[in-house]
């Protein structure tokens, strides 16, 4: 066992990378749930984003185009969910599960010819002086642009929900859709837009895995991150900054336990592997004890006839 092999700076820098897919998927789902919709298809939208991003990046040799394609792919898949639940008024839980299964299957089909290929790499941020600073440089100024976009989305989501009229309407729709309708707001339109945003974020998160974090394509490579994102939204009490905290905590523990495994710590690998899940949920459960509850209309079907 050699704990000195673990470099704290590298650890922090890599935990940010490990956390980003989760962060993106979770913030998208947070907006969807704030609008009162429960979309359990996050995992499916992520994997579709992963393959769309991967395929387009490989074909065009442009990672940026790949990223855009991933967002588009996730959003298009979420549109299917929006149609089922908002127009056809289908059950949200069943539709979301179906979306995940469909996404996993479709991505495997699309990805058949991309196994074993290396995608074009995305350039990392390299600011002279700043990126070369010791400790601060690798942690704050040497990542890929998508990681910063993720952080910006968290901040923007927080600000929009808290300070803008659009955010207020979104929260109102999620809180009491009948009242929002009675006041003249278009509940279905708000929800569809939120679902599309959630799909785009999940797609982006998926592409982050296939293009930047891993980077390669394998079937089912999102490996449950979408499900963790769903749990994270709940345990973060639907608060953007807590999503960030939870995602970084989870990412940090994942990276740390990998490092500990490599260092040969005498704890069975299985325990180490489950520790990020356990500890993240534990911490967030304790934090969510303040009972700031779920959006009151979450998961309820809205029909304008009443």
């Amino acid at each position: 066992m050699d704990l000195s092999a673990i470099n704290p700076v590298l650890l922090v820098a890599s935990l940010m990378v490990a956390a980003t897919p989760l962060l993106l998927a979770a913030i998208g789902e947070l907006v969807v749930e704030k609008a009162g919709v429960l979309n359990l298809g996050v995992e499916g939208m992520m994997i579709i984003g992963a393959i769309c991003g991967f395929a387009i990046a490989v074909e065009t040799t442009s990672p940026a185009l790949g990223i855009l394609a991933a967002m588009l792919g996730g959003a298009v898949l979420s549109l299917l969910f929006a149609f089922l639940t908002q127009v056809a008024l289908a059950n949200q839980v069943a539709s979301g599960l179906a979306l995940t299964l469909f996404g996993l299957g479709l991505s495997a089909l699309l990805g058949q010819s991309y196994v074993g290929i290396k995608p074009p790499a995305m350039a990392k941020l390299n600011i002279p002086v700043l990126s070369d600073l010791p400790i601060v440089g690798p942690i704050l100024f040497s990542h890929d642009p998508v990681l910063y976009i993720g952080l910006a989305i968290i901040a923007a989501t927080w600000a929009v929900l808290k300070f803008t009229r659009a955010g207020l309407i979104l929260r109102a729709v999620g809180e009491n859709h009948e009242a929002a309708h009675a006041l003249g707001y278009n509940v279905v339109r708000v929800r569809i837009l939120a679902i599309l945003f959630g799909g785009a974020c999940a797609g982006l998160g998926g592409a982050y895995i296939s293009l930047i974090r891993v980077p390669q394509w394998t079937e089912g490579m999102t490996a449950g991150v979408g499900w963790i994102a769903l749990a994270l939204v709940v345990f973060a009490s639907w608060k953007p900054w807590r999503v960030l905290l939870g995602a970084y905590l989870f990412g940090g523990l994942t990276v740390l336990q990998l490092n500990l495994q490599a260092a040969g710590i005498p704890i069975p690998v299985e325990y180490l592997a489950m520790s990020p899940y356990l500890i993240t949920i534990l911490v967030l459960v304790i934090m969510s004890a303040d009972k700031s509850g779920a959006p009151a209309s979450l998961g309820r079907i809205f029909h304008a006839s009443q």
């Binding site: 109102a172 809180e175 009242a179 006041l183 003249g184 707001y185 959006p295 009151a296």
Partner: protein, 504 residues
């Protein structure tokens, strides 16, 4: 004379299977308080929704200050100058007062200015309100203020109020009426929807009466007796319930120092409640909604379990028993929420009859259901309580609110319990059916049942109770004989002030 502010001509709106409005016409003058009067289901809400742009009329027209008026959505109605205070408040519990107000405005000012304006308007009209408070924590009266202020901030020419007093204490009603009179003096017209006749007589200049979607009369309320208006509304002569009280029975239900924590986060915990009810007696419990009514019903029915001695039935401690065991010893309950609490919405009336009748009506044997017996029981309820439904195999949710209410009350009454607890027995039920339900409760008492009737309808409680108490923040006021109580005394009891404190 100038054109009326709003003129409605022959508005008709049909829903599948029912004509909600059939050529309804009336005029509202500038600065007039116009009452729209009618039973539940008479079509009052539909008229109002058409004026507010939520529903499109099938035929007919409206004119606003002489010009054609056909709002396609609430925004259009609001910008023309229509404001609406909803019956079931259109508020968002998790948001604060200022945010709720902003959501009801076309072009809200920045939050800081808005908060200042809310303060200003609320003080001008005697409706104190703190813009930063979360609406979920407000009382019903305060919530209504939020709605009213939301409308007032847009300087409406016509303010629509849908059953505004149904959730208020008498004192709060007085404050509201003062505000409405001030608005009227400033030239605002008010369309006031209610079925409370005395209120309409004291407040309104003119009344249009609807029955089954049709105009059946116009009157000047101050010059018409409440009874005449009621008979216009119902289209029949009203039966007043009668009873012969017998107060020498033994104590059947005894509650001692009952304290219990509410099961829900926004609920009210019960604090040290004690009372007893004798055989043949009706105890009426008033109070503004959300002051522990649901919790008290739950504690008496067995949904909320407490230590054994706090609830005693016929001298036996039962506080630890669940609802099924309590039914076995003759204690039944009918909760307020019809769909989802008193009845399972998607199950048939037969199944719903079985759910609470199983124990006392012997509807199951060795784990097998006696469907024949359950069907007969459901038929009995439908017949005895005049439940209008095509048959007992219909789902509970298919019934109108009033019919389902008759069913869930009838289901408990027909089981001839020793102790019956009901919450809001006539909520949303038309006057004739309400009278029938009250009469059935009185008949049950005459047969020796001890009844606890929890209600927000004070007239109802005064009509049937032998003794009266009020719940306030989970505490029970002293219990006094109902006969001779004045409305002021009741108001103070509801506000949590005891008689002595008031005298001081």
């Amino acid at each position: 004379m100038s054109a009326p502010l709003l003129s409605i001509q022959a508005l008709t709106k049909a829903y599948p299977g029912v004509v909600a409005n059939d050529s309804v016409s009336f005029d509202i003058e500038q600065g007039q308080v116009h009452a729209l009067l009618g039973e539940n289901g008479a079509g009052k809400s539909t008229v109002v929704k058409m004026i507010y742009g939520l529903v499109k009329p099938d035929s007919g027209s409206m004119t606003w200050q002489g010009a054609p008026f056909a709002p396609t959505d609430p925004n259009a109605a609001r910008s023309a100058g229509v404001g609406m205070v909803f019956q079931h408040f259109s508020l968002f519990d998790a948001l604060n007062v200022a945010e709720n107000v902003a959501l009801g405005m076309e072009n809200p000012p920045p939050m800081r200015d808005l908060a200042a304006r809310i303060k200003e308007v609320s003080e001008n009209y005697g409706l104190p309100l703190d813009p930063a408070r979360t609406v979920g924590d407000l009382s019903a009266g305060e919530r209504q203020r939020v709605e009213i202020i939301r409308c007032l901030l847009q300087d409406p020419k016509l303010l629509i109020m849908d059953e505004p007093t149904s959730v208020l204490t008498p004192q709060e009603v007085q404050i509201l009426f003062k505000t409405l009179r001030q608005l009227k003096a400033e030239g605002t017209s008010i369309l006031y929807i209610s079925h409370k006749l005395e209120e309409i007589r004291s407040l309104c200049d003119h009344a249009s009466i609807l029955r089954l979607g049709k105009n059946v009369g116009e009157c000047i309320p101050a010059q018409t007796s409440a009874r005449n208006m009621a008979e216009l509304m119902v289209g029949d002569t009203l039966q007043t319930p009668t009873r012969t009280a017998n107060l020498d029975g033994e104590v059947l239900l005894n509650v001692r120092n009952l304290s219990a924590k509410s099961a829900s986060a926004f609920g009210t915990s019960l604090k040290d409640i004690s009372f007893s009810v004798k055989s043949g007696e009706i105890l009426g419990l008033g109070g503004v909604a959300g002051n522990g009514q649901d919790e008290l019903l739950a504690a008496l029915s067995g949904e909320l379990r407490t230590s054994p001695d706090t609830v005693q039935i016929k001298g036996n401690p039962v506080g630890h028993l669940g609802p099924k065991n309590r039914r076995g010893i003759g204690t039944l309950a009918a909760p307020e929420e019809r769909l989802g609490h008193a009845a399972a919405p998607n199950m048939s009336l037969i199944e719903n009859a079985l759910l609470t009748g199983e124990v006392r009506q012997n509807l199951s044997k060795k784990g097998f259901v006696n469907w024949k017996g359950a069907q007969d029981f459901a038929q009995d309820i439908i017949k005895a309580f005049d439940v209008r439904t095509p048959g007992p195999d219909r789902a509970a949710r298919a019934l109108s609110g009033g019919n389902l209410q008759k069913f869930v009350i009838g289901r408990e009454v027909l089981q001839e319990p020793d102790v019956l607890v009901v919450n809001q027995p006539t909520w949303g039920v038309d006057a004739a059916a309400a009278a029938a339900i009250r009469q059935s409760l009185l008949d049950l008492a005459a047969k020796g049942t001890a009844l606890v009737v929890i209600s927000q309808d004070l007239d109802e409680l005064m009509e049937i109770s032998d003794r009266f108490g009020a719940l306030n923040e989970g505490r029970l006021s002293e219990i006094r004989p109902a006969a001779g109580l004045t409305i002021e005394e009741i108001g103070l009891m509801m506000g949590g002030v005891s008689a002595q404190e008031a005298a001081e």
